[in-house]
């Protein structure tokens, strides 16, 4: 400020820059540019921290705050002094456990969810209202409540289920089913019943109409929901933690959590980066498959709807 006052020229320059900026932001005839500024600031704020975390997974030092140059040792080093993502037994085990749970979750939750979606969309009888209502609850129940209740279930009522992978898989499937139902049911409503009716009119038996007509039409939604189940399972921390059974059933989010409570290291950023890449690959794969199967169906704006729909 005092510098600006010292020379008149600087003041004028600063003033005019300021005025131009103000004019650009507050121009009442153009786009509301202050909204542009807020939006892009938000976007940068929401993503930049993650980029910094990725950057420090390549840091040639133990520091997570000062940059010492590029290295991939936190991923690939076999030295026992460095707990690299792919060679440290703890980190590797966490990656394997996360992948195992996500895979089993997809394999179990997707078929159950697809069948439930079909049933709930078309079953009009006693109990259907209650079932529809029940399906919504896992979506809004805080994870800690589900964690506590499943923990107490497996320790007092269903004691045959051991903690660790079996309990974790059951927990993951329980919160995943509803996502599958929501996605598949949306698709069911948008395709309607006319294709199946046409098939029946042409003489198709119910089983044929289901398998040859409805199933292919539902396939994009099934693939999309499988991708989403995979992603939410990999992302889950609470259920995995509450139902785990010590170190050998630790997942990646649990590893990150434990590290943040002690001393996070570049390899912590590294394992988070690996899991992020895997999740993004699954989701992008899901979107691409969805787009491939539904090509030529929608018109303008369908891409946007897909993208928005993928955030649930």
């Amino acid at each position: 400020m005092s510098q600006a006052v010292a020379t008149g020229r600087t003041t004028t320059q600063e003033f005019s820059t300021w005025r131009r900026l103000r004019g650009w932001v507050g121009n009442p005839w153009g786009k509301p540019r202050f909204l542009v500024v807020i939006t892009w600031t938000y976007i940068v704020w929401s993503i930049a921290p993650v980029l910094v975390a990725i950057q420090f997974s390549f840091n040639d030092s133990r520091s997570l705050t000062v940059w010492h140059g590029f290295t991939t040792k936190w991923y690939t080093s076999t030295s026992p002094a460095i707990n690299s993502v792919f060679h440290d037994p703890g980190l590797r085990g966490a990656l394997q456990q996360s992948m195992k749970l996500a895979f089993l979750d997809v394999v179990i939750a997707t078929p159950i969810g697809v069948l439930l979606a079909l049933g709930l969309a078309r079953w009009r009888g006693r109990g259907s209202g209650g079932a529809n209502f029940l399906m919504l609850f896992p979506l809004v129940t805080p994870e800690i409540v589900m964690g506590v209740s499943l923990l107490l279930l497996f320790s007092h009522l269903l004691t045959v289920v051991p903690f660790g992978t079996p309990a974790q898989v059951l927990g993951h499937v329980t919160f995943s089913i509803s996502y599958v139902v929501v996605i598949v049911r949306g698709r069911l409503f948008s395709i309607g019943r006319s294709y199946e009716e046409a098939a029946a009119d042409l003489g198709a038996a119910p089983a044929v109409a289901l398998y040859r007509v409805l199933f292919p039409l539902l396939l994009p939604a099934i693939v999309a929901s499988a991708a989403i189940v995979f992603a939410i399972s990999i992302d889950d921390f609470v259920i995995s933690q509450w139902l785990s059974n010590g170190a050998n059933t630790t997942t990646v989010p649990m590893t990150i959590y434990n590290a943040t409570r002690a001393t996070p290291q570049p390899s912590t950023d590294g394992i988070a980066t690996v899991i992020m890449v895997i999740t993004l690959a699954a989701v992008i794969g899901g979107v691409l498959v969805f787009r491939f199967f539904t090509r030529g169906e929608g018109g303008r704006g369908s891409a946007i709807d897909d993208v928005a729909g993928f955030g649930i």
């Binding site: 786009k31 910094v52 079953w123 809004v140 989010p253 943040t260």
Partner: protein
């Protein structure tokens, strides 16, 4: 064309799954909370028969929930954190959702992808990222020091130690909660703003409303369901959050209800009290949810046919 039993049969496995692994677990919580504690082993002895329920633990928690009790502060703090985070999400999220739905034309697809991106990055990674940034010497910490914003925050009383953001600051926890949950708020809000028919706005403008008045009397009321939906979507999980405060603070001075539950199960195990708190929290959230459904129901009833 299909046999009548087909659709209920399709629904059966899913319904049975949810009954056993979603409904039955609540009965387990009730049994433990209304049960007793083994005097020697200090483990929970659940009571499955309602006739044998012991309401002592729930009553005890309820007593401590009154002003002056040990849970009162935690409850008030949780409420404070959730409401402030919700306010932050509205203040940041509304302009963003509004801009993307209304004004972004060429950049809309790109912005939507960037908006959805945080959904697919692990919540824990996004918290870890802030540990990197806010640790002493981290980019954000250095930025705040260099710009003297840290002094400003200190003098405003927002932070108690301007050089240690991760040592139990409510401010950090609230910022982390906003950062963590805002994507879930923006998306439903965006969807409801995007559905608004522009002709309503044009009509308001043609009838002489200023842009501001048109926003206030047309856009805002029409986006109410999106606002409420987004709010419910983030408020419910925030009430059960314990990991966010644990990660960015870890101090008892910032503990929320979730931390209290976590402590009774993972700290010094007293699952009976933990279960009692869980039941009360669930009841509170059911009431919130009921209020939301009632509002939505009323809103849809008021709409002209």
């Amino acid at each position: 064309m299909y046999p009548r039993w087909l659709w209920p049969a399709f629904a059966l496995p899913g319904v049975v799954w949810l009954l056993i692994l979603f409904v039955l677990p609540f009965y387990a919580v009730v049994g433990v909370a209304f049960g007793s504690v083994d005097p020697i082993l200090l483990t929970a002895v659940p009571a499955w028969n309602p006739a044998q329920w012991n309401f002592g633990w729930v009553t005890q928690v309820l007593t401590e929930l009154q002003p002056g009790g040990i849970y009162w502060d935690v409850f008030v703090r949780t409420l404070e954190y959730v409401l402030l985070s919700l306010a932050g999400c509205v203040l940041i999220g509304y302009p963003v959702a509004y801009y993307i739905s209304r004004h972004a034309s060429r950049t809309k697809s790109l912005l939507l992808i960037l908006l959805v991106l945080p959904f697919w990055i692990s919540y824990l990674m996004r918290m870890l990222a802030w540990i990197n940034l806010l640790s002493p010497g981290g980019y954000a910490e250095r930025f705040l020091s260099a710009t003297h914003i840290n002094d400003l925050l200190f003098h405003l009383g927002v932070v108690s130690d301007p050089n240690n953001y991760l040592g139990g600051e409510s401010f950090t926890v609230i910022i982390a909660l906003i950062y963590g949950y805002i994507p879930y708020f923006i998306l439903p809000l965006y969807a409801s703003l995007d559905r608004i028919d522009r002709s309503h706005l044009e009509a308001a403008r043609d009838l002489g409303a200023s842009p501001w008045r048109a926003f206030l009397h047309v856009t805002l009321p029409l986006s109410r369901t999106g606002l409420l939906g987004g709010a419910v979507l983030i408020v419910l999980p925030m009430f059960g959050d314990y990991y966010t405060p644990n990660i960015v603070s870890g101090a008892p001075t910032t503990s929320m209800i979730g931390n209290q539950i976590d402590l009774y199960f993972h700290g010094g195990p007293q699952p009976t009290i933990g279960a009692a708190i869980t039941i009360l929290l669930s009841l509170f959230l059911v009431l919130l949810m009921g209020y939301y459904m009632w509002t939505i129901h009323r809103a849809s009833r008021d709409l002209p046919a």
